[in-house]
Structure formats: C-alpha cells, structure tokens
C-alpha cells in the first residue's frame, strides 16, 4: 500500500472529525456566513485584475512588463 494514498484516503474522515478551518478567497459573504456560524475562517480579499475588464487588465500587464 502506498502511504500517500492512505493519507489522502484518510483526509475525508479527519475533515469531518474536526471543526472546519477555512481559507476563503474572493467573495467575503462566504466568510461572513461561516464566521456567523462559529467557523474558524480567514478571508483573503481577491478580485480579478481591473475587475475583470479584459482591456484594462491587458494594459496593466503591459505596463508592468
């Protein structure tokens, strides 16, 4: 048996056995909902560059190079 495979197979059990610890990226609402239910959560503020505007994001990429 591959010990790594064992470990992977074991993860769902340990996830369910302990309280969740969450890193939330992007939409803060998800983090707020979890936090309001007592979950341990760290929120990482992130959004697509230039709010997803492809033209501005392209300009930014060229202005960074």
């Amino acid at each position: 048996m591959d010990p790594e495979q064992d470990q992977i197979r074991g993860q769902p059990d340990s996830l369910l056995a302990a309280p969740p610890r969450v890193i939330n990226v992007g939409l803060e609402l998800f983090a707020e909902n979890l936090a309001s239910q007592g979950a341990q959560v760290v929120h990482v503020r992130w959004s697509p560059p230039a709010g997803g505007d492809a033209r501005l994001a392209g300009l930014l990429a060229r202005l960074r190079s």
């Binding site: 959004s47 230039a50 709010g51 505007d53 501005l56 300009l59 930014l60 060229r62 202005l63 960074r64």
Partner: protein, 416 residues
C-alpha cells in the same frame, strides 16, 4: 529611459524629500498676479457656472460681494450667469482651497515654501466652523469674518511668521500623527502645536493688545485651523512630483461638488474626471443625507501625500467623527491604502501601526488593478447655497478617473 517603477520611486522620493516651511501670509494678488478683478479660483477641476452645485454658487456670489464686484448676492448671481467672472481651478495657480475653495485677489493666503525644490504653494486661512464660505455660507456674518481675516488676522499672521523666520511643518506633522491627528478631519494637535509656536511671535508683532487677544482667541477656538496649512503644505510637496516621464503616481486629487478630478505625473497637467460621489458619514442634529451636497474641495491634496484617510490609523477618534466604523477599524483604512501606493513615508509614522510610515505615492496602476480607490475624509456641505456644513464623513474617489488616466498614461508610454 527609466522604468515606470523607477519613475514612480522618483515621484514618491520628491514628495517625501520636500522640506515645507510656513513662511508668510500675503494678499492673494501678491502671490498670484493673475488674480485681477472678477477672477475667481475654485476647488476641483475646471467647471463653469452652469454646472456648479449649490454651495459653490453660494460661495461665488458671496465672494463677489466681498470683493465689491456686485452689490448683493442676486446681482452677483446675475453677473455670474452672464459670464462676467473668469473661473479657474486653484490648482492651475499653485493654490488649493478647502470645500468651495474660493480664492480672490484681496484674500490673505498662507504661503508654504518647499525649501528642497524652491516652489511655493498657497491656501486661504481657515474661517472656523459652522456657517462659513468654504461650505457655501455667504451672509453678513460670513462676509464680516472674511473682512476681519483680510484686515486683521492675515496681516498679523504675516508679521508673526516673518518675525519668527517661518515654521517648519514636517516635524510638526510627525508629532501631530503621534497625537491623534490625520490632518484632514482632525487637526486638534497640529492646530495647538502651531499656535504654541506662533503665539510669541504674534505677541511680539501685534499692533495692540486687543488685536493679539482676538487673533489668539480665533485660532485657539478652531480645531481645524491647521487644515489649510496642511493643504498648502500638501500642494507644495506634491507639485515637484508633477511631469515625471513614465510615472503613474497621482499628483492631485480634487473635487468641485460636481466632478472629481485627478492629475497624474506622467500625463502632465491633464485632468481625468468623473462625477463626484456622496460622502457617507454622520450629520449634525437637524440634518440628514437628504440635505447633503456631493463631495467637494481641494483638501484631498492631504490624501495625495499620505495623510487624511491614508493616515486614519493615527486618528482613531476621527473614525467615530466621520461615521466610518469602530476605532479598532482605523488601521484597516491605512492598511488598505498601503496596497495602492509606492511605499511608506519614513518621516511620518503611526505609533499604533508599529511606527509604519504613512502610505505615500498613489499609483494608478495599483488602483485599477485592485479596484481599491483612495479613501478621503471630508466635511459635508448643505446642497443649498448659504447654509454651510451639515456633517462629516468618508468618500471614495471614483474608479473611472483612474481607469481613464490609465488609458491615457498607456498612450504616453506608446501603448494602445
């Protein structure tokens, strides 16, 4: 050719390396010779009478009566509508003004000299709180106060500053940041520190005991007296950062109650504008958001150099005053602004953030990339002419200015 990052570090270095000294108070026509009859400088990017908001119109009519260009407010409004006045932004003449930002020929102006780069910048004297012209007030009480400032306080301050050889502002700001000021909506510490230095010189040069008492009393009762000094200083520090080829650093942010405008170093003196937003804040008793005018004033020059909303962590008390949340959230504003600047200013530090320097040198690339726009602490004017201040709050710079500036900046870099 230097890279954009190199150009931006140079812009930020110039802002940080400036040595601002409050050197004098002089009549505006001496400081700005272009200020003849019927010439009115205002806050914000260019605007004509037809698009001016209520408080700006109120201030224009009031200042026209003050200067003797019209017999009363109605006559002044008629002259303005007929095109009798030439309107220009303060920023086009090395000046700034809070809220409506009226600058005309006979008003006394604070003079701040940047000894590192040899440039000067100007701002009118703060009128105090309540019904004042910077918030659109224009009745007899407002005009009488302006006459006293012109005839008594301005000349007295000029004599005192010349007597003491000027007041160095950089160390004063550094100390103010450790005493709870952010230099936009809270200037209690810096106003007191300034008065402490000015008082002996005022006493030595006063023409009478009564004049001295009146001047000390006026300054001592005004927690925001230092704001206009900070603004002239901000302009004096930001101007040397203009016109650096390849720099995407903001050199001015300003609003006229209708439009918000920014200037960027690498695109010269072109304005990028968008409709200005409404402040979110707290209102004085009897007033509400229904009474408020959209944001206005050249005072965002203090955020341009890393103070005001950018230094919120230094001033937890101001968070409550402007209705921006709990005192413990003050640091979050400063941390957020640190994400859109070139770097900290090591000369101006914030004790509550382990003496981190205030975030300085707004990079339009970072603003557009992150969607984080500058946070500005501000006063709120009534939307009707002649009423005055009704509250204080926080306003966000519109993202559209920065997006348009980015496109224009890219063109200067040979892109697009």
């Amino acid at each position: 050719m230097q890279s954009i990052d190199q150009a931006n570090h140079e812009a930020q270095r110039r802002i940080i390396d400036g040595e601002p000294i409050l050197v004098d108070v002089v009549p505006a026509s001496h400081a700005i010779p272009a200020l003849g009859d019927n010439v009115i400088l205002h806050a914000g990017p260019p605007i004509g009478w037809e698009r001016m908001c209520g408080p700006l119109r109120g201030a224009v009519t009031g200042i026209a009566v003050f200067e003797g260009w019209a017999g009363d407010l109605d006559a002044a409004a008629a002259k303005a509508a007929a095109g009798a006045f030439a309107f220009h932004p303060n920023h086009h003449f090395g000046a700034v003004g809070p809220m409506t930002g009226m600058t005309t020929k006979s008003q006394p102006l604070l003079v701040v000299e940047n000894r590192t780069f040899g440039n000067r910048a100007y701002c009118a004297i703060n009128e105090g709180l309540g019904k004042v012209m910077r918030f659109g007030g224009n009745d007899a009480e407002v005009l009488d106060r302006l006459r006293w400032i012109r005839d008594v306080l301005g000349p007295a301050l000029g004599r005192a500053l010349r007597d003491c050889g000027g007041i160095s502002l950089k160390p004063l700001i550094a100390r103010g940041l450790t005493m709870g000021d952010e230099m936009h909506q809270r200037n209690v510490a810096c106003s007191s520190l300034l008065l402490r230095q000015l008082a002996p010189a005022l006493a030595r040069t006063a023409k009478s005991n009564a004049e001295l008492v009146a001047c000390l009393d006026f300054i001592g009762r005004n927690d925001q007296f230092f704001l206009n000094v900070a603004m002239a200083m901000g302009k004096a520090l930001a101007d040397p950062a203009r016109n650096i080829e390849g720099s995407s650093v903001v050199t001015a942010m300003s609003r006229n109650g209708t439009d918000f405008g920014i200037r960027v170093s690498g695109t010269g003196d072109r304005w990028f504008t968008a409709l200005v937003e409404m402040p979110v804040g707290l209102y004085f008793p009897g007033f509400s958001a229904r009474d408020a005018n959209p944001d206005m004033g050249d005072s965002a020059i203090v955020e341009t150099i890393g103070l005001g909303g950018f230094a919120m962590a230094a001033a937890p008390a101001v968070v409550g005053y402007v209705g921006a949340g709990r005192a413990s959230e003050a640091a979050a504003f400063t941390r957020s602004m640190a994400e859109i600047v070139v770097g900290p200013n090591p000369a101006w530090t914030i004790p509550a953030m382990d003496f981190a320097g205030v975030p300085t040198g707004i990079d339009i690339r970072l603003v557009v990339e992150t969607g984080l726009v500058p946070t500005i602490n501000t006063g709120i004017a009534h939307r009707e002419p002649g009423v005055g201040q009704v509250g204080a709050g926080v306003v966000k710079a519109p993202l559209k200015c920065f997006e348009e500036a980015l496109v224009a900046f890219a063109e200067t870099m040979g892109l697009e």
